[in-house]
Homo-oligomer: 238 residues x 6
């Protein structure tokens, strides 16, 4: 039995709140149970130096965790003077995943920055961030389309992500912290609207995992992502 | 007429939401109109090196702003590799103000860190942070008293803060961004429960101000702080 | 009785030495008793990026303390790899105060940097720095006028600063380190030639202060600043 | 046809040179074609602070690339003042993978640091680093066993890694730079001696990949890793 | 007797291996006994900001030591976040020495960066680096001449370097680590093809040295450098 | 003729002012013409980690330049966030030179830090710093002897330094900035009371120098250092 009493293939309560803050071109609070991540999309009319003058755009992400988003306070990265390896790894993943969904040439010379800040952590912050960031990105692109800044939609697919893992010998979907901290295997999946993989990252925590476990985890994740994508569409349809 | 249609001595809508996040010993979302700051108090059983072995405690603060809390995205301090001068100045002010309210000897060898993170900025973030941090600190100390970790209450007064300023020639209370960005004089006041000053910081923006203006600003601020302190007590009484 | 045997309203011996070093466009050693700060004004024909192409100038300040300016050696900030919060706060104050005195449009596209380096510290280094920096700035602007680089004087008022505080229950002027380290309230005042406030920063050290104390401190400070301004004018007249 | 004329399931020429440098407890130059990585294992009789006094050991890795290991010179990370996100991500992967293979309790209070420095890069440096680091780790542990410092072998499995990817529509093994820079999908696999997964990291470069492609890549990678593990055993048997 | 059984005026086995890596315009592994330094020369079509638009070039050097190049592992400078004083001193020396040999005007607007990375250290790494870097620089300039990018040879002299020192009271040439770590005096000499001095750096380690000792060291060094220059010419003639 | 009208073997006006600041255990302003360096010696009852518990002491130096000590303002190192290579090189030289003069075992577990801050630069700041730092060190050690903290004098020799160089083809002593910026060869000499070398650092600026030039420079430097040492003794005798 899972600590949260969920079935193995059951997501946590999932909620996307649009317009959570007022300044950003896209702003979504995403909640997977007690995990809460604020995702904003900021549109700026410039691109990084390596893209200048090419007429194409850029999508990038930054990730942060409020110091007391976690059970024990963790040091503020701004005060320590650098982002840790985990932070850099996560924000590289978010940016890479969303760039797969967008046609940068069609975006034109603008940068969309996705800031994903964890207000409260309870496992699965990086996959929540990706799922929320896609909604914020969709909002921001819709704004550009509505204002006429863009004539055609550069965002050609939908992106969502979820974690799966082996907890007490059983494959489970959408691990919370109680599961994640004891999982034998931890895997993050990012998929598009057609059920194809954008990213798959699986790590053995202590014990290596067999191909059969991998297959079971992939099946759980695929189903979970379909549910998340339905929720993304629902909130955008409101 | 103020851009927000408020009277000169009128605060913005003020709200303290307790328990906004679940992990911290104190956690308050404070809102002054559209300014929203998440204040958490974290209790840790250790003190900084300069206090070790003296049996006394420490209270400190850190301040941050989410990159898109503002109208234009500002660079993430963690990514830039250092906290800016403004950030350091504000968090030093918050920590200093709250240490005035607490008996560090009575706190014992523990540190309470007040993290004030601006989710949305519309002027007056530092005074909102002080007012919210006091509520979070009160919650955290109440927890220590309730658990028996502390026998007597070390928090001996109530602290609140507000900004006042001269906008279009007239002294006004609790400036929002539209006023703050054009104010001729900007002043932050921090006071205790007896209406005495903990901190007063007044800055001429362009035009120096006369003693008579100072007196008018102080009167506005005192009245405003009494209202804020009433709201703090009300939310704690719930 | 004050440790220095001074009356409550008595400044320390005050001295401005012009031309203390030879390279800078303005160079003044300011001494308030044993506090000695070297203030130089450097004129450069460029402005920071945010002002480029607007035809206006900039005035900024940097503050430093030699490692052994103090009773105990403090670590060199250059070796530690960053300026501390106190340093940043002070140099922001100096720059802000002096910008109030000058018409940046009339200055033209040039930057004047005021470097205030404490050779020996005995309390009141930031207010000494402001008072000295104004003389160095005056020298530098006079040089621009003399050479014809400027046709009209952009420096429209005189700026001086002093500290006041409550020591052993009594308001006193111009605290030295022996007083400052035990003061109950510490306040820095910056004023212009007309006795108006440019900045007021008062901090309760432990015990909050009443309005009546504030009034007494302001009165002491105003008188002290008039004396300092007279000394500034005298040294410039030499 | 692959640029290197290899069959889809063909590794590059693979070479492990033991004792490449003389000071380290383990020192291996690993070559996958033109990719050359020097892997050293350093044994030190201390552990990081979070493990002190627990009687258990630690294995960690650091990764670096000489500035001109690549076709265009890349800036030296030591001169830039920080390790980039890619570097941190890779060294976290190497350390995590090798910790899976060793019993840290049995290692005792010592740290083994695996330094993986790329002398020449031609694709696949991270997987080469893992494969080489395992040999260096094996050497270092053998030294501890030979000297009697360890009584039982804490290294309980063999670790190797390889990259696979989709190049011009076809799944291929062990991509060199010419392939890697154009691959549609890029995947790194780390496996143990029993063919179980330690890590799987797959990234769509542009086009998401289907489950069938994933299966084909996994099959290629498993076979490749068996070959690499045979080569590791052969060089250790010499 | 020297620990290595060498005569006082005897160099260690000296070897220059050209083309050690494939990407750089010049690439030489230089070995003085067990000291091994990889020197690469990278040609880039741009100059540092202070030289822009002047039509002249730049030659600079960077030095690094792999963490386990030494008997005890030393922390990786990239991980520590800065290059140490010794590193900066050495790379400034290498760059300065090689700039003496080249006509920067004749080089045109390009930068040649000499990266000197110590793979294994056994004393004398900085002088080995200079001697090897000159060969790599020669290779890079020859490439520019061969391709027609340069019409005339800007490299007008040959540069080599060696260390000399007083070990157990006797002047010796080319100290290895066993000698260097106990030497009373340590001196590095850099000379041109005409036996003139480019740099001389002598340091008393504990006991100051007399003029007569200086003369003896200079004589040893001059002879040693002639041998090294012959070896440089021999390897380039191959 | 030298720009300063001096004879080739003539020092600039030389002055040591003792007690220039009041807090440090040794405090000397040294002036070589317009070059002015404040040298303080700070005694602290602790040693760096690598010396702890060995009963021996440490002498180290830090060097800094006020931003406007020079003709053009140079950026403040504390603000840039690191000390430059030149600074590190100079402070390593100063520390090394003075450690040669003192018996660290006899000093006991204390650190003496020599802070050398250039108030005004006109060439030769590093050699002035060494010459001044020795006087400050002598003062600090005399204080330890006078207070009985030390029973025997650990400072066993006198240290002074000077620069020599080839200016317009002629060897000259004690170069000022006008000469230094055009010198063909630049050499810094540090010697003890017996005329032996502690450090010799000669650099060809553009044109390599012959042995005969070296001999001429050494002779000039030796005579200059004798004069400086006489001045050091004279000021200490006052």
């Amino acid at each position: 039995m899972r600590p949260s009493q969920r079935r193995p293939d059951q997501l946590r309560d999932l909620r996307f709140t649009r317009g959570f803050t007022k300044h950003a071109e896209g702003s979504v609070l995403v909640e997977f149970g007690d995990t809460r991540v604020l995702c904003t999309a900021s549109v700026e009319a410039r691109v990084p130096p390596f893209l200048r003058g090419q007429g194409k755009g850029w999508v990038t992400a930054e990730y942060g965790m409020l110091p007391r988003a976690t059970g024990e306070r963790s040091p503020r990265e701004a005060a320590r003077g650098k982002q840790g390896g985990r932070t850099l790894e996560i924000q590289r993943l978010i940016g890479r995943a969303l760039r797969t969904a967008i046609d940068l040439d069609a975006l034109g010379e603008r940068t969309i920055t996705l800031d994903c800040d964890v207000l409260q952590a309870d496992g699965g912050t990086r996959t929540a961030a990706i799922s929320g960031a896609w909604v914020a990105l969709r909002e921001a692109v819709d704004g550009l389309l509505a204002s006429g800044a863009l004539g055609a939609d550069p965002l050609h697919t939908q992106v969502a992500a979820v974690s799966v893992g082996v907890f007490e010998g059983e494959p489970v979907l959408d691990l919370d912290y109680a599961e994640d901290s004891k999982a034998e295997t931890d895997m993050n999946l990012v998929m598009d609207a057609d059920g194809r993989f954008i990213e798959i990252q699986g790590t053995a925590e202590g014990v290596p995992f067999a191909r059969s476990e991998l297959d079971a985890l992939l099946a759980l994740g695929e189903a979970g992502i379909r549910e998340i994508q339905a929720a993304q569409r629902a909130v955008l349809a409101d």
